[in-house]
Assembly symmetry: C2
Homo-oligomer: 375 residues x 2
């Protein structure tokens, strides 16, 4: 499965199972998958799914066909009989129109609800761009998917912060799952871990959750100015073209809010998180701090206080021998304080580019595995 991201460029992919597999359909359920947003994450996901098709079928009794793809560039495409993975991944190239038409019938619809219906969606993979302030349009997409009767799986943090309880309750009412493992720590199963910890009480957490700033701080310690460090992070494929959300601490704050909302069951607004980015730090200050044994890190913190939670995102000096000081590059770290486990920490070192897409694949298995009975 580690080959997946390389396969993106090779276009050497197994086909998604075709509807002709009806002999096995009695035992192996075929799920109609729809992909909203077709950038790196969903494209890698298509490859991962093709890569582990045999394992999903043999081990979990799960088969799939891709019946919908939508993005700003592609519009709302439907292939109710199943689109083939190889053609889809060819969309990676510039010849979108050409790739799209290779043997695939793909009519348009004009909005998300019609699209989900025409594609007979069982699962929506939502991976549009994050709007920190509103959670849109991802929020509307997820609501539409659940109301249509599909599981909703997102890599988008916005909907959790802005509408977690509504979406969770809507999913429960429809007997579907709303899952979002890829939103924090690139698909490391944080939310699933706590789902496995009944009756535990999370008192607080701290950690490093934004890779872009972590890479930038490391480069600035070596003497680069912020802008040059950012360019390096972009060249590494870690930072996006517009890194404002990262540098000003918004991305880390949204992740912090998501963890508080879901794992501590406390509603918190983004503006309630004390937020400070890395814009005011100079290479000199960073170098001195590292030299003195107390390097700067952009640290997320949350702690129960009364019925609420006090939370912050800010550059902090951390002891050089502490676990957080060792988190370099695109690695991340989360330390949880619970009643049963006083200190439980997860470290993710140098995740591959497919880790986020993998988190969505794992969510797919979770959603259909636990609902094997419905059809």
């Amino acid at each position: 499965m580690a080959e997946a991201s390389r396969r993106l460029s090779r276009g050497h992919l197994a086909l998604a199972p075709s509807p002709q597999d009806s002999i096995e359909e009695t035992r192996i359920r075929i799920h109609n998958l729809c992909f909203l947003g077709f950038g790196n994450v969903n494209r890698t996901l298509v490859c991962l799914l093709a890569d582990c098709e045999a394992e999903l079928r043999d081990r979990y009794g799960i088969a799939y066909r891709i019946t919908g793809i939508a993005s700003r560039r592609l519009g709302w495409r439907v292939g109710a009989k199943g689109l083939d993975s190889a053609s889809l991944v060819a969309l990676n190239s510039d010849s979108i129109a050409g790739g799209w038409q290779t043997g695939v019938s793909a009519p348009h619809t004009s909005n998300v609800r019609d699209w989900l219906a025409a594609a007979r969606a069982d699962v929506l993979f939502e991976a549009t761009s994050l709007n920190v302030q509103t959670g849109q349009p991802a929020l509307d997409h997820i609501r539409a998917a659940l109301e249509h009767g599909a599981h909703a799986i997102t890599a988008n943090k916005g909907p959790i912060v802005h509408a977690y309880r509504e979406l969770r309750d809507l999913a429960a009412a429809r007997g579907k799952r709303f899952l979002f493992e890829s939103t924090v720590m690139d698909g490391v199963p944080i939310f699933s871990l706590f789902d496995q910890l009944p009756a535990i009480r999370l008192q607080g957490f701290h950690g490093i959750l934004n890779s872009t700033t972590n890479v930038i701080l490391g480069e600035m310690e070596q003497g680069l100015a912020l802008d040059d460090a950012l360019k390096k992070a972009q060249a590494l494929g870690i930072a996006e073209t517009d890194a404002t959300n990262d540098i000003d601490g918004w991305d880390a704050a949204v992740k912090t809010a998501a963890l508080i909302t879901v794992l501590m069951d406390v509603s918190i607004r983004l503006e309630d998180i004390a937020r400070d980015g890395i814009r005011d730090l100079t290479p000199q200050a960073l170098r001195n701090a590292r030299r003195d044994g107390w390097p700067f890190k952009l640290v997320c913190r949350a702690k129960r206080e009364g019925a609420g939670v006090k939370a912050s995102v800010a550059p902090e000096k951390v002891l050089a021998s502490s676990p957080m000081a060792k988190i370099s590059g695109s690695s991340s770290y989360l330390y949880f304080e619970t009643d049963i486990f006083p200190g439980l920490a997860l470290t993710e070192e140098n995740p591959g580019l497919s880790a986020t897409a993998y988190g969505m694949l794992a969510d797919f298995v979770r959603s259909v595995r636990n609902h094997a009975g419905d059809s």
Copy 2:
């Protein structure tokens, strides 16, 4: 819930739900629980269950009554109508006979199968002492429970190493669960974490998994001789009376074998793990190593080699700034290498005494939550 172990001595416990709760029995399933071995782990578990009775009922629709307790001292006790938690925990005191008889009907049976049948067991909590070489008698207990039609939950590593595939397949054939989260890292959900990672390939792992030797090595670095360091670990409640299994690396080797067997799906015998304990280390050697920046740790390692796995348990010098060097006292650490996550590490700091029992409680919820349909 953190109060549980303290409550052991106070005896201030809610009662287990009585059979009179039949109004709710249509929605809330009452499970008959049996406890085999009644030392610290199962006793603490009884307290934890009482502590979170309301949450189990309200959040998971799970209720229970305790219908069987067995140990070498108590024999095979049955209370088909439910034994009350307060009386059971009173068994902690020396007045076993007195405590047992407080209002509870508790006839004897003479073996595990009759006992499970008389107690109409839905779940067995197996926590007898570990026999490293055979996995007995835990193995027979678990086999009997699954054949009776109960979920089998154990804190015992032996049966995994000696009969994992047989027990896993037997559980699957009976539609029951065989769960053992407490066997490694005191109930931190290691096995459950990987159960949430479909289609991932574990290439290898390393870590520190034996608390007794970790405490002893720390004390010896301060100058204590092995025997005195062991006494200190025993006084802290970390080491058992007979710590041979720990000091000679057996406990760490069994845990390593369990992880390899379950998570890497490779059969390995204990004798295939290169095993070296801490008996030959002197306080002087340990002090020098720490002073030189390369302290000794008892490290477990596993790595795929061809179709097999190469594994070892041995004292190793680790770099003072590495994560393993920071693992002190009863803390533990596991670093996993996988295809998707090149490095994924879990650290458990200073687990409370209830962590192992908690792992069994979480297994209970997992087993009955995923099988809500059967009855």
